[in-house]
Point group: C2
Chain length 139, copies 2
DNA sequence: AACTAAATGCAACGATGTTGCAATAAAAAA
DNA sequence: TTTTTTATTGCAACATCGTTGCATTTAGTT
């Protein structure tokens, strides 16, 4: 495992991004949070930083495959760390996003089997699955 | 089938909603559009109406099970008519939302089989599936 | 035609998205 | 280490959307 203080810097450099304070802090905060982090909470953690900088930071890290939008209703967007399979050119997510109605947490849940969507005569490029229910811990 | 001019009024009355011009027009426009209608296009069709009225109209029709949010990325939300199974108390959607990268249309696609999501120890209440790809017509 | 409950229009505020540009800081080169 | 290069930041400014309160208007009812 990487040193707690070093891993964000390494992640950023691996995508040819400068390891600026806002970027490293964002990666650390999401990692520390444990599940997908709601945008409003991210904002609270970055009260001091400029709103535009945060906006561009998120955009850039999504673009480079370091974080992804884990869930997005009309109220709030959640962000989670990408797995190591994601690259600067392609996100690779074969997991679903689960929102628990009890603890309100959004988590990335990896399935054992691939989900099959049979849509004859359609070309399927990306599938995104959101599930709402009660999580393992809250049940 | 209902008379083209009458069906929105009947739909509204069936949910104990007043058949106001904005409401009937919204239902007609979405119906005429054929696929899920992007919010920006809805706005263009309602240039004259007040923004707040449109907001409350959409909210109310969603709440009463006459329309539903068919797709929602961070850029745009799409609205589609509900099927007849939806009631004033519960939406019942066992279909997926397909966004075509060619024609950009968002459609509600009904599947033959139910989609199975195996999440041991989780309670699954709602499943929402969004697929991006190329639609039947564009292929 | 009159009544009543509901819907609308307007004002107003907050959150978020988005761009341009000058100042600044990180990484690379010397 | 110092300099240079290039990417990032902060700020201003504008747009869109969500949301509420309240007075006015209107749809459906009597
Ligand atoms: Mn995820
Ligand atoms: Mn639909
Ligand atoms: Zn939970
Ligand atoms: Zn198409």
């Amino acid at each position: 495992m990487n040193n707690e203080l070093e891993f964000p810097i390494q992640m950023l450099h691996s995508r040819k991004l400068k390891a600026t304070p806002t970027r490293t802090k964002l990666l650390k905060e999401i990692h520390a949070y444990g599940s997908a982090m709601p945008y409003s909470l991210i904002c609270r953690k970055f009260k001091n930083a400029d709103r535009v900088t945060l906006y561009r930071t998120i955009e850039k890290l999504v673009e480079k495959g370091l974080i992804h939008r884990a869930f997005s209703n009309n109220k709030e967007t959640y962000y989670a760390l990408c797995n190591t399979k994601c690259t600067a050119t392609t996100h690779y997510h074969n997991h679903i996003h689960f929102k628990c109605t009890q603890c309100k947490l959004v988590t990335c849940e990896h399935l054992n089997e691939e989900v099959e969507i049979s849509l004859p005569d359609f070309v399927v490029d990306k599938i995104s699955i959101n599930v709402v229910g009660i999580c393992k811990s809250c049940k």
